[in-house]
Each structure stands twice: as structure tokens, then as C-alpha cells.
Amino acid sequence: MDFDPTRVAFIVVSAIAVVSAFRVVTAAKIMHAALWLGLTFLMLAGVFLLMGAEFLAAAQVLIYVGAITTIILFGIMLSEAAEVRGRGAAPLPVRRDDASLFRRIVLPALAVLAFVGVMVVVYSQVSWPDAPAGLGGDTVRMIGRALFTDFIIPFELAAVLLLIALIGAIVIAVRDNGRREQG
């Protein structure tokens, strides 16, 4: 195989993305998890860039790395949750028996290996067609036109989706002082 800088860059960027995504769920401090999440988003932008999707990469940096990570950090600062397990609260008892080892390490590792194995087999068995030509050029214009012509209904439906997310988050998170027994 020839030395292909794009391929090397892709492997490096995606490896960092995978590792930092792993750290998001394993970090003990929630602030660290948020920062790892930001790094994951940034690396994904790199993947998009390598695929020739410049606009997507820029949007990823602006929205995910810029806005969403910042909002998550603000949310953490405004709430009292410094650690994933909660400050003051005793850490959950971690049982170090065989079953927990199996559940926490062996099972996830097996699942990941099985998934990777299956996908590698699947991908290697087919001959992929060449990348479609002529995708370069003004992707911003193309995406904009597609969003506001062919895909206007999904686009508008996405607005409904955001409204649902907004109201749903408020319903779940709003402070309710007059709590009583429900069910």
C-alpha cells in the first residue's frame, strides 16, 4: 500500500476521537468528561474535513465544539455536580467480584470486538465503488440549496424536534418545590 497522508491523518484523527469518546464515559470528574467530549467533537470535524465535507467540518467546530461544549460547561458550573457520582454523596460501592469484572470489562470488550470484527469482515468482503466525482466545489451552496428545496419538510420537522427537546428538557429539569407523592 502506498503511503497516503490522508489515510494516515484519518487514522490518527479517528483514533484520538475514539479514545477521547471512551474517556468521556470513564472520566470521574464531569468537567473532564465535558472537555473530552469537546475534543471528540473537534476530532470528528477533522474526519469530516478529510472526507471533503468542509462545510460540515466548519459547522461541527462552530456548533458542537463552540456552542454545545460551552453550554455543557456552563451547565456544569451552574449546577453543583462536580463529580459524576455527586459531591458529598458516598461513592457507589464497587463490588470487585467476578461478576462485576465480567460485566464491566469482559462483556463490553467482547461486544466491541464482535462489532469491529463483523464490520471489518463486512467491509472487506465487498469491492467499494470509487468515490463519486465532482463532489468538490461549493458544498455550502449545495447544502443550502438541498436544505431549502428538496429537504424543506425534514428541515421544518427538525424545528419541531428542537421544540420538543426544549420543552421536554424544561419539563424534566424545572425546579418543582411543591413536590408530592405521584404515581
Partner: protein
């Protein structure tokens, strides 16, 4: 976007979404009023009127194929509107009693309905996916609405985690199918695969991910882990909504995706669905037997019922599809009716154990009788709707040369008799601690009555309903003759 009058074809969706905003505003006027519920029901009625008067009978694709209007989508949309209206009706008392924010509750139910309407009303994977996400996000919030209940919060968290993974899995499956076929439109995918399937392994992987992701929404075993907790912990009207509408929407989307988009690999997904159907109904029924809690029993019964419906997807003939739709409608009415009684009982017995139904035959004779009819319908005893639903599914399986699958259905129905019948026995044969009559709020009574009427009408006049249902085609006529 061509302004050619095609907007009126999605007027029902627009009305439902607008009604949601109105209901939210109505909820702001007074925190504890019933106004949002009435607004919601009026809006749903208006949407149903426009659907039946303006849209029914049309078969056309609009907006570059992102929306499809045909008999299949219109029927499903009518079912969704009906279910949403019944949920609004049954939840008046529940919302007041638990101090839920009425405006937000109805808004989320209505916007979830909009999402489901687009899931059934499109051949475009992107529209279907965003519709699915609308439904999913609204469901998570609705599930967690009982903030004072640990069960509800736990259910919501589990549902968010499993639901988010399933969304990712569906997207991955869609992207693999897109990678092979080069289109997100199911008809074009069909056309691209018609001449042969060059990248079969990738396509099969995509198919498996789609089955798994949609299987989560259908609560098919082994993707059902969230279902018992959610159906048990969520507010009771929400549980009824998820068991009926959400499941029906998942089946509608699955029918479109597999029958319209992927008939080229039908032999493969048929095998998968046969296996899933058998596992799902057997597991659901066997687990339901040992439940002592009414909501958990109904939850596992919902899993089993999803297995029966999946028989239709496994057979995948035109007859099987109409049998599925008939079954989904019959099951929806019986479930919401049964949940009306559950909601009433939950008011006096928050634990919702089956043992709490002791003496119900004396305390609320009419409601006990309706619940008996619903249980008979779940078992599949004539002349209830459930009998004909199972009968048509059975018939379609035999006609498609799968008599053993039909046999497994019958065996499963027999396994299910003890736990459904156990509820009836508890109501009539076991003495309750008290004989105090249970006054039922009007909304609960009406919902139970509508459920009862529909269950009996569908059971007594099945031919007319079957005629209506079998006129519906999953593969719209405008596509079957080529693109």
C-alpha cells in the same frame, strides 16, 4: 418549493402541531385547568376532519418525495389521531391528580403524534428518521414527567439511554443502505437494488441495524429491556400511548422500509423477523405469567402482542399487512380501554397490583365488565376484535406456507390465557377488602366505553373493517409501475 396547493395535503400535521402550541399557551393561562386537554381534543378532531375530507383518497408524492400521501399513510394517521384523542380524554383526571403540567403534557403528545404521522407518511429515510426522533424525544420527556416518582425517573433515564443508542443504530443502518443504494428515498433504493445486490454483506449489515433499531421501538425481544420499566414507571396515559401509538408507528415505518425499500433481500429479513416474532411472543407471554403487578403484566403482554404483529412482518404478504393493521387497531382500542381502568384503580391503589382488582366486579360492575372484554380480546376469544386480529394473522401465515408459525401463535395464545384470565378471576371471584363503589371520572368512563364499543364493533363486523384495511397498499400504486 413549489407552491402548488400541496400544502393542504399536510394540513392535518400542521393543525396538530399548531394545536400543540395552543395547548401549551392554554396551559400557561391556568396551571391546573382542563383547557389544554379540550384544546388538544378539538385540534385533533379538526385534523381528523381535514384528513378524512381533504386528504383521504389522494395518492401523491410531494416536496421532492420527502412526503407521501396515500391510503396507507392516511389510515395510520387516522389511527394516530384517534389514539392521541383517547389519550387526551383519559388523562384529564390523571393530570389533575398528579399535578402534571397540562399544557406541556398535551404539547408533547401532539408533537409526538406529528412525528408519527411523518413516519407513516414518507418514503424518505430522512423524514422517517426525524419523525422517529420527534416521537422518541417526546416519549422520553413524557415518561419522566412524574417527578415525584422514582420509578418514572428511572424509566425515563433507561429509555433515554437505550433510545439514544437505538437511534444511532438506525442511523448507522440507514447510512449503510444509503452507501449501497446511493439514495435516501425508498423507491429509488428499491430501483437501485432491483438489478442485483452487488454489495450484499454491507446491505445485510444495514438491514440488521435497521431491524435492531426499529425492534427497540417495537419492544421486540431481545431489544425490549426498556419496555417493562417504561410501561410500568411512566405516567399511565403515557404508557398506553407508547404501547399503542409508538409501537404502531414503528411497525408502519418498518413496513415501508422493508417492503418498499428492501424487497431485494426479502428472504434475509423474513428469516430475521420470523425468529424475532417467535422469541418475542414466547418470551412476553411466559414472563407475563409470573407478574403480580398489573402494569408490568400489561407491559409483558405488550411485548407478546408485538410478537404477534411481527408475524405479519415476517410473512410480508399483502394479506399479512392488512391483518397487521387490523390487529394494531384492535389492540390499540383494547389497550387504552384497559389502561382507563388501570388509571382509575391507580387512583385508589397506587401500587397497581393485580391483587388490588379483588372485588372489582362488585365495586365497579360496568368497568369490570369492560375490562373483562378487553382481556378476552387480548386472549383472542370471539366475538372480540382480538380474535379476528389473530385469526387474520394466522390465516396469512398459513396462506404464505408458514403453518408452523401460525401454530406457534396459537400455542402462545393458549399460554397467555392464565394471566389474562387471572385478572378476570381476581375481579369476580376473590373478595375485596372493601365493597365501597369506585366512582369513575367522566374521561375514564368515556375512554373505557369507546374502547369497549370499538372492540365489539371490530369483532362483530370484521368484514367491513377488513375491506377498509385491505384497500391499503404499503407499496403505493404510483410506484409499483416503475418510478
Amino acid at each position: 418549493m413549489p407552491v402548488d396547493g400541496s400544502l393542504r395535503l399536510i394540513l392535518p400535521e400542521i393543525i396538530v402541531a399548531g394545536t400543540g402550541l395552543l395547548a401549551l399557551t392554554a396551559g400557561l393561562v391556568s396551571r391546573r385547568s382542563r383547557l389544554p386537554g379540550f384544546v388538544s381534543m378539538l385540534g385533533l378532531a379538526a385534523a381528523a376532519y381535514f384528513l378524512l375530507a381533504e386528504v383521504a383518497g389522494e395518492t401523491t408524492q410531494i416536496w421532492s418525495g420527502t412526503v407521501l400521501v396515500d391510503g396507507f399513510s392516511t389510515l395510520f394517521k387516522a389511527v394516530f389521531l384517534g389514539i392521541a384523542a383517547l389519550i387526551a380524554l383519559v388523562s384529564f383526571d390523571y393530570i389533575e391528580r398528579n399535578g402534571l403540567p397540562a399544557g406541556e403534557f398535551h404539547l408533547l403528545v401532539l408533537l409526538a403524534t406529528v412525528g408519527m404521522m411523518f413516519m407513516a407518511g414518507s418514503l424518505n429515510l430522512i423524514t422517517i428518521y426525524i419523525g422517529l426522533e420527534c416521537l422518541a424525544l417526546a416519549s422520553y420527556a413524557l415518561t419522566g414527567m412524574l417527578r415525584g416518582s422514582a420509578k418514572s425517573t428511572e424509566a425515563s433515564l433507561k429509555y433515554i439511554l437505550i433510545g439514544a443508542i437505538s437511534s444511532g443504530v438506525i442511523l448507522f443502518g440507514m447510512s449503510l443502505v444509503f452507501g449501497v443504494a446511493g439514495s435516501v428515498h425508498l423507491a429509488e433504493i428499491n430501483a437501485a437494488l432491483a438489478g442485483g445486490t452487488p454489495m450484499l454483506p454491507v446491505l445485510l449489515a444495514g438491514m440488521v441495524f435497521l431491524v435492531a433499531g426499529l425492534g427497540v421501538k417495537m419492544a421486540a425481544v431481545p431489544f425490549h429491556m426498556w419496555a417493562p420499566d417504561v410501561y410500568h414507571g411512566a405516567p399511565a396515559p403515557v404508557a398506553a400511548f407508547l404501547i399503542t401509538a409508538s409501537e404502531a408507528a414503528a411497525f408502519a415505518a418498518a413496513l415501508r422500509i422493508f417492503l418498499v425499500g428492501l424487497p431485494a433481500i426479502q428472504e434475509h429479513w423474513t428469516t430475521v423477523f420470523v425468529a424475532l416474532a417467535v422469541i418475542t411472543m414466547t418470551f412476553g407471554n411466559v414472563t407475563a405469567i409470573v407478574q403480580t403487578n398489573m402494569r408490568r403484566m400489561l407491559a409483558y403482554s405488550a411485548v407478546a402482542q408485538a410478537g404477534y404483529v411481527m408475524v405479519g412482518l415476517a410473512v410480508a404478504s399483502e394479506r399479512a399487512v392488512s391483518a397487521m393493521i387490523y390487529y394494531l387497531i384492535a389492540y390499540a382500542f383494547a389497550t387504552i380501554g384497559a389502561f382507563a381502568v388501570v388509571i382509575l384503580l391507580g387512583r385508589y391503589h397506587p401500587a397497581e397490583d393485580i391483587a388490588d382488582y379483588r372485588g372489582l366486579g362488585r365495586r365497579a360492575p360496568l368497568l369490570a365488565l369492560t375490562l373483562t372484554v378487553f382481556m378476552l380480546s387480548f386472549i383472542g376469544i370471539p366475538p372480540t376484535a382480538g380474535f379476528f386480529g389473530k385469526f387474520y394473522l394466522f390465516q396469512s401465515a398459513v396462506a404464505a406456507g408458514m403453518p408452523w408459525l401460525a401454530l406457534i401463535m396459537v400455542l402462545n395464545s393458549m399460554v397467555s390465557i392464565p394471566y389474562y384470565w387471572g385478572v378476570v378471576q381476581t375481579m369476580y371471584l376473590r373478595e375485596g377488602e372493601t365493597d365501597a363503589p369506585l366512582p369513575a371520572p367522566a374521561g375514564v368512563r368515556w375512554t373505557a366505553a369507546i374502547g369497549l364499543a370499538a372492540t365489539l364493533i371490530l369483532g362483530l363486523f370484521p368484514d367491513q373493517v377488513v375491506q377498509l384495511v385491505s384497500a391499503v397498499q404499503v407499496v403505493p400504486a404510483l410506484l409499483s409501475g416503475g418510478l
